[in-house]
Symmetry: C2
Subunit: 301 residues, 2 copies
């Protein structure tokens, strides 16, 4: 398998799914939609929808059932980025190498476009009921929606962000920092792995195993983010460097040092790959996801 | 029927439904949940869940199917109030006679608790799948979720708010102002009337008729709001008076004058009551909803 070519093709497919579910930049609330689409089209790795789609195939899924959820997950992720960058939160002017949404459209529209993307994620995911042809498919769509909402909410991403904000980026200790990372970053990745498996009809134990993969990959991903904020280059990252230091944020690197952080990323990745090795039924998807996870560890941006 | 006693009982029931679906103020994201509950417990008319519940009964609904949607609708409404009050939007320090959420919990937590309430609304409404016992009930829950999302999003409340913000509260003309009101205020009331009827198994034409009731009541309600901002008392309203004037907002009153505004409220209310007269099958609920709408016209706060 040529991973790079496969990745390119799959990202292209992912982009087309996302694009299909973006609202039209016309009509009464045109400016709002423009702000939403500006943020959505700013690029990014499309990691979450890509993982969702590939996990769906891993467990034997075919057809378009995963597509509304792929777009929805990316909308929720983008919603969190828009609001994260707001002056009252991280106060970042740049995102993905371009001006942050609130810088271009104003703070009020930044808030509202983030709200609207969160809501549009549900509007989009609810299309899955229109695609569902059987009671079983409806039931899988409903379960997937419940996972999406739970991993986004208080017990997931938003809960993590709120604690991060509340402690001013200064977690009391390593355990609290890890909990923030698990909620803030792992939760949506868990949703990607879980929803992909649920929509394909995987058994509950299989979905729980995939949740663990998401948990470990998310934590590794976030620690790698901390490492890159110290060792990366601003050009490659497309965002200001040393922002953690600037904002006096406690990170995995400031707590444990670079070496221990790197070791932790490797350990978590190995554990995730170990679980993945026994999962699903499509060998090609398994290999692809494995390589994707490996690349996340060694990524430079 | 003693309307006041019935209203009191029904509001009590509504409050208990809302309360049951509020998140617990404990655990990792405690502060976030406290901010959410602070805003939810600040009172308010509970108009939307009350209408949803009563419309459900009007069309013969029994049991608890409407309850998750009642709570969800109030959460979405409260989400919009929290974000509306933020410094970057209306910059209001008070809401429902107490300090606005962002004043008590800080601006960042104001943004995040609004986000979390919007998300929790979906988490809550999705419980309806756990209550549904038949394919028909699942299908009604799915349709209701789609209405909820559509009326909240770009084509509804958030779309209306965004245009209102974008024009700085200065609609170009009466048509634009009306469109803002229809999206900003009518949309969630339409959702209340529609979801109540859908969950009870009303025919599509009946649900469309109820949407019209919501549309007219919402518009009347918003125009009445404009009237009260000029003629009301600060104590009764529990919020600063003449805020429209202060913010140089164009309202129905500034555009057409008090008399024309009052006439329009009466006309819209009559039309809504006319549609209601032929709707549903429960006479007691029909009478109750009719009186509720009549009171909204003549309300002083």
């Amino acid at each position: 398998m040529d991973f790079d070519r496969a990745l390119e093709e799959k990202i292209e497919y992912t982009e087309s799914c996302i694009d299909r579910y973006l609202p039209r930049e016309e009509g009464f609330a045109k400016k709002l939609v423009q702000a939403m689409c500006y943020a959505m089209r700013a690029g990014g790795k499309r990691l979450r929808p890509l993982i969702l789609s590939e996990t769906y195939v891993l467990f034997g899924g075919t057809g378009e059932a995963a597509e509304p959820f792929m777009a929805a997950l990316e909308m929720i992720h983008t919603h969190s980025l828009i609001h994260d960058d707001l002056p009252a939160l991280d106060d970042d002017d740049q995102r993905r190498g371009q001006k942050a949404t609130h810088v271009v459209f104003g703070e009020a529209m930044g808030i509202l476009s983030g709200d609207a993307l969160l809501n549009h994620a549900y509007e989009t995911a609810l299309h899955s009921f229109d695609l569902a042809g059987s009671a079983e498919e409806i039931s899988r769509a409903a379960a997937s929606l419940q996972i999406l909402a739970a991993k986004t909410g208080i017990g997931g991403m938003l809960g993590g962000q709120s604690v991060d904000v509340d402690c001013g980026g200064n977690a009391a200790d390593g355990a609290m920092l890890e909990e923030i990372y698990l909620k803030k970053t792992s939760a949506l990745l868990e949703a990607a792995f879980m929803i992909g498996s649920v929509l394909a009809g995987a058994a509950p134990a299989e979905t729980r195993a995939m949740e663990q993969v998401g948990r470990k990959v998310g934590l590794a991903f976030q620690i790698q983010d901390d490492i890159l904020d110290v060792t990366g280059s601003e050009e490659e990252l497309g965002k200001p460097l040393h922002s953690d230091e600037k904002n006096e944020k406690k990170t995995y690197v400031t707590l444990y040092g670079l070496q221990e952080a790197a070791g932790q990323v490797e350990r978590l990745s190995k554990e995730a790959l170990e679980i993945l090795r026994g999962a699903g039924r499509n060998g090609e998807s398994r290999d692809f996801l494995g390589e994707l996870i490996r690349r996340l560890i060694t990524r430079k941006k």
